[in-house]
Symmetry: C2
Subunit: 237 residues, 2 copies
DNA sequence: CGCGTGAATATGGTATGCCTAATAACAACT
DNA sequence: AGTTGTTATTAGGCATACCATATTCACGCG
């Protein structure tokens, strides 16, 4: 089946960036999105032939996409095995969250010290959106705004390395943090902590901002620990 | 066709890792080493056909190696250009070092809190090796021991995410830190800081250890800034 | 003499095919 | 009937061939 039309359909996609046109990057984006939506769940295998055919590309760029995701820690490969979606243990998640807490703490300090008032205002806008959508039953939308809030704080630092690393840690922790966000105590605590964050940010209190951010993520560790221990081992398919 | 000898030869191999046999990984190691030795310098292009032929592999695994190194920030790719060895600006190096300082600070805290006495002792052994090789004119050997010392502190945390991220940051900063190490004030300050580190580690003083590690890296920022501003812009080809 | 346009070349991107290794099923022997 | 060996199938790893595009050089025109 020489289906060149599918190939053309992909190349017809708008090219938003300059180097964002590599098929491997686009495929990596697709797979990341599928991990977010749950189409790909932790432990799921990603067969080269099946997946590449499903997306409508050949195996080569799919393999390259797997390489990218492997470097990000989102998939794991074994010598002669299909790559599988990463399924971090509780210990892994705890380790990742502890580093993330430190990174966001640093971001809080830097943003207090260096960000413009306009950037702080933009962060407050995201905070306001969280308040507005607090009653929205759409947990995904609320969570995306939550993540956007944290990301805005990091991006306000202007530190490219920090931004990139934070983004990668967030990708690996997305699922766990989303579960934490859905827990019954999640939202209340989240809103309180975020209110503290924006208050300390606007006061340019670096120490307090960093402290709240770290505590916020440490709480996430506790939440996730409780959730995973409650669910124990038995995620119904 | 029951070639048991070949089977035995394979099983005799030390199994260092589970997936370390991919050509792409081996090629990435080769290229990383060439960056360390200076065979590949910042800005150098990595032509797919030439390089793959020189190593003796096809383009596919070389391309995959490039993907890995790109994810690590060691090479940069442009749409229709040969990938080039990353040549971070002073601002980039400053950003990276600031994050690295934070990561090592966290490592210092964790190691003080969680590491075993044996691990601390192992770190002291590395410190002692630095003292012994302090007069050695071989700057590379001294620097490798320096890096091993820092790595040991991070590995003593047992935090896999931290270890991995620290390793990647170190790889990107290797060259800059090596230059900083060779500056005339480099060694004296390095030895003094390291003496403080091992002392505070053995005293299990988390705050002091983290503080020294952060200050140590901040000093590296200052050193590198001075070096780059002195050299200004003129790397003879 | 300079600038613009077109063609040729080189280079990265993609697809496909072959090779090797692992796994599972089936058969034969104990 | 159970266990072991062998074979077939499947899937990932690598190599190679093809394609699209960008860059550069040359030629011609202004």
């Amino acid at each position: 089946m020489t289906d060149t039309s599918a190939n053309k359909a992909v190349s017809d996609l708008p090219l938003p960036s300059l180097s964002r046109q590599r098929l491997a990057d686009q495929i990596a984006d697709i797979l990341r999105e599928q991990m977010l939506t749950g189409a790909l769940r932790p432990g799921d295998p990603i067969h080269e032939r099946d997946t590449s055919e499903a997306i409508g590309v050949s195996r080569t760029p799919l393999r390259e996409a797997i390489l990218i995701l492997e470097a990000e820690g989102l998939v794991e490969t074994s010598p002669a095995r299909s790559p599988i979606v990463a399924d971090p243990s509780l210990a892994d998640l705890s380790d990742l969250l502890l580093v993330l807490a430190t990174l966001e703490g640093l971001a809080g300090e830097l943003t207090c010290a260096k960000a413009s008032d306009a950037q702080i205002a933009a962060i407050r806008t995201l905070y306001q959106r969280m308040v507005d959508t607090n009653d929205d039953p759409d947990t995904v939308a609320f969570f995306r705004t939550d993540m956007a809030f944290h990301r805005a704080i990091v991006e306000a630092t202007g530190n490219q390395a920090l931004i990139k690393t934070h983004q990668q840690y967030n990708a690996r922790l997305w699922r766990a943090r989303y579960m934490s966000s859905r827990s019954r105590m999640g939202r209340i605590e989240t809103m309180r902590d975020h209110a503290d964050m924006i208050r300390h940010l606007e006061a340019r209190d670096a120490v307090a901002t960093a402290e709240v951010l770290r505590r916020h993520l440490m709480q996430a560790i506790a939440n996730i620990t409780r959730i995973l221990e409650t669910h124990s081992h038995g995620p119904a398919s």
